[in-house]
Amino acid sequence: MSTAEFNVADRLGQPWKKPPFVKRPWLRWTLLIGFLVYLIAAYLTIEVNWSRVYEGLERGKKFVLAFTSPDFTSRSSDIWEGMLESIVMTVASSVVGIAISIPIALGAARNVAPLPVYFICRGIVAISRALQEIIVAILLVAIFGFGPLAGFLTLSFATIGFLSKLLAEDIESMDKVQAEAIKASGARWSQWINYGVQPQVMPRLIGLSIYRVDINFRESAILGLVGAGGIGATLNTAFDRYEYDTAAAILLIIIIIVMALEYLSGIIRARVQ
């Protein structure tokens, strides 16, 4: 069955190599060497002020040592309040964000939505992803003032971009035939989504949602730095006052909560496979 062009005898006894990704050798080597040269040049442009680093080491050491004696007590009511606010922000924004994300994800999946809807939903996703959390938070703090409301809205908005995009991609890569079989039974569109699509993307939706709760909690610690409430505000105050022991306590609590969430998500994801 071999083609006429191919003469086996010529190839025998010769080594075989995988065909290279870039075929033209000069282009391949130019790209490779060019990248290396750029990399070296890029590293050379980073200025390091060694005397500043030496001074900073002392401050860094104090910071790290604070972890050995975290102070949970002297600002305990502030920490407790901030933590509670962060948790409220996390839960509220995750629920609202996920609830809004699901219809947008359906709209942003090309195999489910008609073209105009697809463009609108992809547009929403793009806007949400283009605007970084901190920038949105600064804007919303300017509009709604300091406090957790701005943080809640920021995180909800960010959740939409994250979850819609990834869920839409999962919907687009689903098994078409399973969904087709439901359609062939004469199901309505809504039933088709419920029976043909939803079961296929459910594990991913649950996994992403838990991951997003995790992210929202960590973000809530950052957003406090720009005045959007939560534990971040408490953390910011602690840094401003050079109370590294209190800051260490807050960071330890955040680390523990994030690890607990990680553990929980592992258990849940194993169960919904």
Binding site: V177, A181, A187, S190, Q191, G196, Q200, P203
Partner: protein, 265 residues
């Protein structure tokens, strides 16, 4: 019962999958559609229930013309056409029962189906069908826990619970072992007979088709090349459908297997 008039399907790429196919199937007839890969077998049955939109031509199911229907009316007509798929196409993360009941989606409202509260008559019928194919005890298992043959039997139940007038069957035995393939084909044909259903069965295995059906259609490059009884498939006919090959073994094998089968019964 089913009539195709000058059915044409041209894909966007310019490939003409079906070239003015004319076909008429009377009530209760089981028909095998054979032909090489890419001959348009799958496209033909998908054009009937419009999972693939035909480019032109007409499809009559009973008195109703399908190609001109609105999406709502098409949905109602799809209930009368049960479909059985290659590789089963069960929704893997749903239970066997949910998969069977999904055949009733065309008859129940959204909230009922969403809450999985199907009418008792549907549930009874689902159990009856599952029992008929020997899987009633598996009702609460998830579809992906089943073996290939079991899955295809669930697929058959899903198609039958629609209470269809016509079965569209796409390569039902493509990934099954020879014994299971025969069992599945026998089951489909028996059920069609019990219920007086017409069926179009796409199938690669010529010998298997000859064993079970009353009529064979040979499709080649989107056109009907042969239409006749299964024993009309002579080596010449097979050559005209598939191209040059030594067909003696294929046909002879059928005769032998037929004898064995009868002996075994």
């Amino acid at each position: 019962m089913l009539r195709l008039e000058k059915l044409v399907k041209t894909y966007k790429t310019g490939d003409q999958a079906l070239k003015a196919v004319e076909l008429e199937i009377p009530e209760g007839q089981v028909l095998a559609l054979i032909g090489p890969s890419g001959a348009g077998k799958s496209t033909l049955i998908r054009c009937i229930n419009r999972l693939v939109e035909p480019s032109s031509g007409k499809v009559y199911l009973g008195e109703v013309e399908l190609t001109g229907l609105s999406s709502g009316a098409l949905r109602l007509e799809r209930r009368r056409m049960g479909m059985i798929f290659q590789e089963y196409a069960l929704v893997e993360r749903l239970t066997v029962m949910e998969n069977v009941l999904s055949g009733r989606l065309g008859y129940v409202g959204f909230w009922r189906s969403f809450l999985r509260r199907f009418p008792q008559s549907d549930i009874d019928e689902a159990f009856r069908l599952l029992d008929r194919v020997g899987l009633a005890h598996m009702a609460d298992k998830r579809a992906d826990e089943l073996s290939g043959g079991q899955r295809q039997r669930v697929g058959i139940c899903r198609a039958l619970i629609q209470n269809p007038a016509l079965l569209l069957v796409d390569e039902p035995t493509a990934s099954l072992d020879p014994k299971t393939s025969r069992q599945i084909m026998r089951l489909i044909c028996e059920l069609c007979q019990e219920r007086g259903l017409a069926a179009i069965i796409n199938i690669h295995d010529v010998a298997l088709a000859q064993m079970f059906v009353q009529r064979v259609i040979g499709l080649r490059a989107g056109a009907v090349e042969f239409d006749g009884p299964p024993d009309g498939l002579s080596p010449d006919v097979l050559t005209s459908i598939y191209g040059e090959e030594d067909w003696a073994a294929t046909i002879e094998e059928v005769d032998n297997e037929d004898d064995e089968d009868e002996a075994a019964v």
